[in-house]
């Protein structure tokens, strides 16, 4: 069915409706956590599938993130004659910011779209109606395991990305900036605190939960018709990427004030 062009007020109503629906899906999912033991097979399957599916791209992104950050901060430090201090900046930037944000942005594209497309297709082909008639709640069966899997996979891959990014940084430091690996790593060890790492993983957990909530709710409200699944997928990627950036700032502030992640 061809749609008329949306007026701005339709767009706003639609956005609020969508946000409200996402919140209600999120709330029902949290209420469904109690049933996780009955769904452990699905949970394990999704953790495995999401983790393996996203691993190669995560590694690639982590390598280049580490390299870019090291190269640019190195050059900036060079101007003030402090290039040897690059090992102080890169690990902090990787663990607190670049690791979680870059990784989870890629995961929002990769896994968010996958979840939205999967659930959206099931919705359009009436598989979700069939579940409902069988008294199987789609939140329990489809949403909750995927949601928890994202909450596990995002921090896991972020931790991995932090590590890889720091190593890649060491290589750039040595080949491009003339900073020895030893100096870089001893700087890193000196400056990096445990809370720099876990505050980043906390961010990744929130980003994963946001992406999963958006993806599942977009999938569940996919409109019938050929365009429906494409629209749901596109919206998932756009909305979760924006939410990741916005919440990143808020979380950074939160970690600074409440977890003492600061100077």
């Amino acid at each position: 069915m061809a749609k008329k062009a949306e007026s701005p007020s339709d767009w706003v109503t639609d956005a609020f409706e969508g946000a409200g629906y996402t919140c209600s899906v999120f709330a029902s999912t949290v209420l469904a956590f109690g049933g996780i033991l009955n769904r452990r097979r699905e949970l394990l399957y999704h953790v495995y599938a999401f983790g393996c599916g996203a691993l190669p791209v995560t590694v690639l992104v982590a390598i280049f993130t580490g390299m870019v950050v090291t190269f640019q901060t190195g050059l900036a430090l060079y101007r003030i004659g402090q290039a040897s201090q690059v090992g102080v900046l890169v690990p902090l930037a990787m663990c607190r910011e670049m690791g979680p944000v870059m990784t989870c942005n890629i995961l929002a594209g990769l896994l968010g779209s996958r979840i939205a497309a999967e659930i959206g297709t099931m919705n359009v082909s009436e598989e979700i109606d069939a579940l409902r008639v069988m008294s199987i709640n789609p939140i329990d069966y489809l949403v909750m395991p995927r949601f928890l899997a994202m909450c596990i996979v995002c921090p896991m891959l972020t931790l991995y990305a932090d590590f890889i990014g720091i190593i890649a940084g060491a290589l750039v430091a040595r080949t491009q900036l003339d900073v020895s690996t030893q100096a870089y790593l001893s700087n890193a060890r000196e400056v990096l605190e445990f809370r720099d790492i876990y505050s980043g993983l906390l961010k990744a957990l929130v980003f994963g939960a946001l992406t999963a909530a958006v993806a599942c709710s977009q999938g569940l409200r996919t409109e019938k018709g050929a365009e429906g699944v494409g629209v749901a997928t596109m919206r998932t990627v756009v909305i979760s990427s924006v939410l990741i950036l916005v919440s990143d700032y808020i979380l950074g502030w939160f970690c600074n004030v409440f977890l003492g992640v600061g100077a």
Binding site: E126, A130, L131, R132, V133, S135
Partner: protein, 254 residues
Amino acid sequence: MPETPLLDMQDVHKTLGGKHILQGMTLQVHRGETLVIIGRSGIGKTVTLKHMVGLMRPDRGKVFIEGRDITTLRDRDLDQIRMKFGMLFQNGALLNSLTVGENVAMPLREHERLPEEEVRRLVREKLALVELHDVEDMMPGILSGGMKKRVGLARAIVRNPEFILYDEPTAGLDPIMSNAINELIVNMKNTLGVSSVVVTHDMPSAFRIADRIAMLRKGRIIKVGTPAEFLETDDPVIKQFVYGEEEGPDEPSE
């Protein structure tokens, strides 16, 4: 006082995609009967079935199951009521990521604690009832439309529901297979006392299985009656549909 109907739709209205599909639909289904709903494609038969199980909620009007209003129930309470239901979807609605066997076993695995062997035996038994053998390990994607529908039927009846909704059970099947499905529907009623609603536009099938027939047109039920009453009717609209006549009040295309 007459007994409460199993299912009671009262003045149901529904607008979908800007079209007023159901315009004051009123219909009762009684315990133990097979009610057949006939009507042209796109008239809202599937939409009607979805209102009966709470998959869609009316814009206006009420749906009662055993006297209980389901239009305001929450999902978790609806799940309790749906335990007694089986539904065959128009396209089968199999879960494409699971095998045929897992699809049919799903209601059993979710709601009953049975030994694995018993589950397999029941799955085999129900698949045999719809004339399917050795298909348990196939994926739904490689099945023909008719086979998917029969697997969907096996899944709908696997827990011996009291109330079954069939959406075009014989569409896309060859005449011999259609007969087998008709006999299955009649048998379930005679041996298990199942109540059913069957949507179809296969008239021979309707006359074979129906206790009562209801004709849907322009968002309302225009006639409910026994098969004999439908055969004897003088109403030109119904005659045109029942006898498949070209001449009549309805145009082939709208």
